[in-house]
């Protein structure tokens, strides 16, 4: 019997990349925007399933904020992810949504540790078209949210991505996503955006890095323009 037949594998679990999609479902997203977002979530699942590495590693949760913040999908594998049919309505409780997503990521990391699962730096991926309605620059919630995001990036707790859909206030978003410039979606190119997310996750979960995370160029991917 050769060596190959004799050895056994110590820790057969795949490392995980916890990802929270934080999706704006406020009233202003109604119509073409929410319809394209829903379609894009279906193709996101399809794209990620095509990648042998990403499909084993992405651990996805979806949090929607429109009127209230609600958990659409708790963490699950991409195979188990059931793309939701989101509907739009209500205000934009962005502050509460970001805090909840950051909490979810911390809890998930603790679960990984308890279960002996290796993991990558988690992703918090925000898509919004509006101004937050539960905070204003300088108020208590605002300060809590920006501190959470800025220290989260600085202490490498997560990667925070913000994508602005027309007519989102890029200035407001840029203050929150200080360490990673928000990107502006061209029209409603959600499908291209999620294809890029899928490709990026495949890349991140298979590349050893030193200090900075390098992702495929989003402008070249054709879904965004870098705001001027």
């Amino acid at each position: 019997m050769g060596l190959l037949d004799q050895v056994e594998i110590g820790n057969p679990t795949q490392p995980h990349c916890a990802t929270v999609l934080l999706l704006d479902t406020s009233g202003s997203m109604d119509g073409e925007k929410i319809a394209n977002l829903n379609k894009a979530l279906i193709s996101f699942k399809e794209e990620t399933l095509k990648d042998d590495i990403a499909r084993k590693r992405v651990d996805l949760a979806v949090l929607a904020f429109g009127g209230t913040v609600h958990l659409v999908q708790d963490f699950c594998s991409i195979e188990d992810f059931e793309p939701p049919a989101l509907s739009a309505g209500g205000g934009t409780p962005l502050g509460e949504a970001i805090l909840k997503a950051a909490d979810m990521l911390e809890v998930r990391k603790q679960q990984y540790k308890q279960q002996g699962i290796d993991y990558y730096r988690p992703w918090l991926f925000l898509i919004t078209d509006g101004e937050p309605t539960d905070m204003e620059p300088g108020d208590a919630t605002w300060n809590q949210v920006v501190t959470r995001v800025h220290t989260g990036e600085a202490e490498k707790k997560f990667l925070f991505f913000a994508v602005a859909v027309e007519p989102a206030n890029l200035g407001t978003l840029a203050q929150i996503a200080r360490d990673r410039q928000p990107l502006k979606l061209i029209g409603t190119k959600f499908a291209e955006l999620f294809k890029w997310v899928s490709n990026s996750q495949a890349k991140v979960s298979s590349t050893k890095i030193s200090d900075s995370v390098q992702l495929p160029d989003p402008v070249a991917a054709g879904w965004c323009e870098v705001p001027t």
Binding site: L4, I9, G10, N11, G116, Y120, R121, I209, S210
Partner: protein, 263 residues
């Protein structure tokens, strides 16, 4: 791959062999193998192993890993071959070998007008005699020893919370991140490997890594039985390229095993 065959000067009581094998992902992407290794048993039956893993995010990390391994390995072999003094501190030697490898990477970056970070790689240098061992280690990968019959994690993959983030030898922080492990124990087996093998080699107990007996016992037993180290290296290569290992890591993989027989 930069593997060195058995040193003909070795008295033959110690044996060391291993391989670096390209991972499925690099094969698919037509990216070169970014792992490298070199190993030998010395005339005094000490075992020297150098292993490096080039970072996927660095453009020329394959060249970095090869150079780091070759320079650290040569540094140790030259010193051990020229030293008759057995009391020489191998702990200092592995530390100096890491510094030498870092310098060589700086020189290569200058010569080729590239950024040092383009050559980013991890590095492990291990020396084991029958009585003592020393390891210099930066980045992930690990060293496991069989000491007085017990499997022991000699050098762990490091502090990083995330499985793919490391401080490489090319970092300005490399001195602070270089870990030295040493001991004066009766070491009979040593395995040095890159992170591509970690999931096979360890189980996790309350977030701590524990060498997996059902992996290492067959490996060390095999190393004691095999007489032809070239055949041994092929057997390791076959293991590293197997579906059994690759379904748990698509990365390049390096595994070098040494056994030391003393009177």
């Amino acid at each position: 791959m930069d593997a060195t065959p058995q040193n003909p000067k070795s008295a033959g009581r110690s044996r060391v062999f291993g391989s670096s094998v390209i991972g499925p992902m690099h094969l698919q992407g037509e990216i070169p193998c970014q792992d490298a290794c070199a190993y030998a048993a010395t005339a005094a039956d000490a075992i020297v192993i150098a292993v490096a893993d080039g970072l996927g995010s660095a453009k020329r990390s394959d060249a970095g890993a090869s150079l780091a391994v070759a320079s650290a390995f040569r540094f140790c072999m030259t010193a051990l071959d020229s030293e008759s003094d057995e009391e020489r501190k191998i702990e200092e030697l592995v530390r100096d070998a890491a510094a030498h490898a870092r310098k060589e990477l700086e020189l290569l970056a200058q010569e080729e007008s590239c950024n040092l970070r383009d050559l980013a790689c991890t590095l492990i240098i291990a020396i084991a005699t029958g009585r003592q061992f020393a390891v210099a280690h930066i980045g992930d990968g690990a060293v496991v020893g069989e000491i007085e019959g017990i499997l022991s994690l000699i050098s762990s993959p490091g502090e990083s919370e995330y499985t793919n983030e490391v401080v490489p030898l090319t970092s300005s922080e490399w001195r602070n991140s270089l870990r030295i492990s040493s001991g004066e124990s009766s070491i009979r087996g040593i395995a040095v490997f890159t992170d591509g093998c970690q999931r096979a080699a360890f189980r996790k107990v309350e977030d701590a890594l524990v060498p997996f007996e059902r992996f290492f016992t067959p490996v060390f037993n095999y190393a004691r039985e095999v007489t032809d180290v070239v055949a041994g290296a092929s057997e390791i290569a076959e293991l590293l390229a197997s579906v059994k290992l690759c379904e748990h890591s698509d990365d390049d993989k390096t595994f070098v095993v040494g056994v030391i027989e003393t009177d």
